[in-house]
Symmetry: C2
Subunit: 383 residues, 2 copies
């Protein structure tokens, strides 16, 4: 198949920042891309060959879009799976496959999948609604505290809550959900796995999410994770296993907990480029985005090793500011060694909206971490 | 000035592959860009905010384009300078400035500039036409062999010829030209200098152009050059001096000869991103393209050091093939360590047309050189 400067068409469902970053590589390779997104202001609108505005959950919209392309991939997992299944049955190549997406899209099914496949994960219970969950509490099958997650449509911490008492149940939406055991953990880790249809498979190094000591928010994604080599090896092996069991093609970001006694438990997965891999644009031989494109086109995968240490800081809208965005002090951080801001192109900021990220690379991970903290304390996303 | 996700507009004259690569960074920073190019199929057409089709040498076209933007830059030096001068007088910021472009656009003036500023360069004579040159030969002011260059509009080896006898004069076009002494040299080197309007200035490492032993064609651009540190320091110092003397803003690629006795002679300059800096996308902390954008917007310059060794191989159309391009064996080279093809997006190949380049990066420059040779011998640009 001739992908380069040819009539071949890659379709991407979703046109957010992940799609935008995928398009850097389709442009680099001059691969034709069609993008479908509900927003007129989608960051991917520019730099794709054709942009289509439409609802990703609408059967007809997704089906008609899919009929126009040769290979279809996603940058968001909330898409109409019935349309994908029909397209696949009609010969469109879809990566990740609808069956993989089905196993991942519902967090209850995803957790069941880990249990069925002997993949270490925290204990969980599934509930069709809140009444169902309350019954379980009454019967003492479920105990406080636990982690509540809505089964579908959660993202970026939305749809997740730590429930410590009946009081915490009041605000929860009445939807299908799961309850997970609270796991005391030392580190939250992630491994991105890349696999092509031929079965070639590679993992990126283990990254570490460093949390703010009080706010319990991820502040830095650090590559490589500052953990014992044996723990890192174990995490990579488990991530590989997860990817193979899902028979996954493309990128699979596997989020994991490192428990107090160095067990690795899989938390959840995302079948696409992931925030925890953004550092790879500057730090890796091959970025996660390029490897996603290579994988879904069944090209050989690129080297996932790092050239240098990389740290990623998210740029989120500051609380109390809404309106036309200003990146205050961005000129200052541009003057520092190895600092690259990525501005996603959303014109309006809102409190905690993901507006961009900053990568800091350095030969010395400690120096990168020092600069990252300065970046975090200097740049402000305001209106 | 707020450049990021704002109403600010950067104009780029020229929409070829250099412009395309500049747009990766304007997109990364979400800086609005307008592009002017004569071709409907300009590689920059996608990924800019607005594309205008028009003649870069036409006064009115360039003037009207310039009136729409806040800062104007170039990716090709053959543009209407009268329009730029008028725009500058009316307050449009133009980098590089029309006066710098004037001193560079004509190779005769450029050589005079070096002489006036005590910048080491080979001896030259200027001629208004071929008759003028022939008179000089008759008067023995000029002797065979010499290097003939047309004064304007040459590029990529066009407009350059080694003249060894009267016979070689027959095919030369009757235009303004110069004759330069033939310099026996060990190496052809280049240094890219980056300077912003505030006067911050940085140089990239010295790169070396390795020639095919028989064909006398550049085969590899190698960073860092495999030369003595002292020679490298001298080359960087001379390049810095050239940039300062031109009072240049943006990127200035300074091409130089290293003579048999380790003298450095300036050959010529290009006031824009340059083929000799393409390796920087993968190998440097900050690519030449990002630094050009930073410079013309008077932002702090990024680190010009390399993370790893980089080698660039041009992808040119193979002789004997014209038509819809096929990159034969590109799948093979994608499987090799640190290999990144850049496909410019020209749909039609022609003999020797520049269609793309491939970068090879590695911790070990010898390993990179070995892989580069395999790349060169494997990939074919055919129809």
């Amino acid at each position: 198949m001739n992908y380069f400067s040819s009539d071949f068409k890659l379709g991407i469902l979703g046109g957010g920042q992940l799609g935008k970053m995928l398009l850097f590589d389709t442009r680099k390779f001059d691969i034709q891309t069609y993008v479908l997104d509900p927003s007129d202001e989608a960051p991917s609108r520019m730099a794709c060959n054709k942009f289509f505005k439409g609802d990703l959950m609408n059967f007809e919209t997704v089906y008609q879009f899919g009929k126009m392309v040769d290979v279809l991939t996603i940058e968001i997992e909330l898409v109409n799976l019935d349309a994908l299944e029909k397209l696949e049955s009609e010969g469109v190549k879809i990566y990740p496959s609808p069956s993989t997406l089905k196993a991942i899209q519902n967090k209850g099914k995803q957790k069941d999948f880990y249990v069925e496949n002997n993949i270490p994960t925290s204990k969980h219970l599934r509930f069709v609604d809140i009444a169902d969950l309350k019954k379980s509490l009454e019967k003492d099958e479920l105990e406080f505290p636990f982690v509540w997650k809505c089964a579908e449509f959660g993202y970026d911490g939305n749809g997740v809550k730590i429930v410590r008492s009946t009081f915490d149940l009041i605000d929860l939406p009445d939807v299908e959900c799961i309850a997970e055991d609270m796991v005391p953990f030392k580190n939250e880790l992630a491994v991105i796995v890349c696999r092509n249809p031929s079965g070639e498979i590679k993992t990126y190094p283990v990254v570490e999410m460093e949390f703010h000591p009080e706010a319990n928010q991820v502040e830095y994604v650090i590559c490589p994770a500052r953990i014992d080599d044996k723990v890192a090896e174990k995490a990579r092996a488990i991530a590989l296993n997860v990817s193979e069991k899902f028979n996954h093609v493309g990128l699979l970001a596997v989020e994991m907990f490192q428990t107090e006694d160095d067990e690795i438990l899989v938390n959840e997965v995302a079948p696409r480029p992931h925030n925890s891999g953004h550092y790879s644009i500057e730090a890796s031989y091959t970025s996660q985005f390029e490897n996603h494109i290579r994988a879904v086109l069944n090209l050989p995968l690129g080297n996932t090793d790092s050239k240098v240490a990389g740290i990623m800081v998210n740029l989120v809208g500051e609380d109390g500011f809404s309106g036309n965005v200003i990146y205050k002090n961005i000129e200052t951080i541009l003057g520092w060694n190895g600092v690259t801001p990525h501005i996603y192109g959303k014109k309006q900021t809102r409190p905690f909206r993901k507006m961009g990220h900053v990568t800091i690379v350095n030969q010395d991970i400690k120096e990168a971490r020092r600069i990252a903290e300065d970046v975090k304390n200097t740049i402000r996303v305001i209106a």
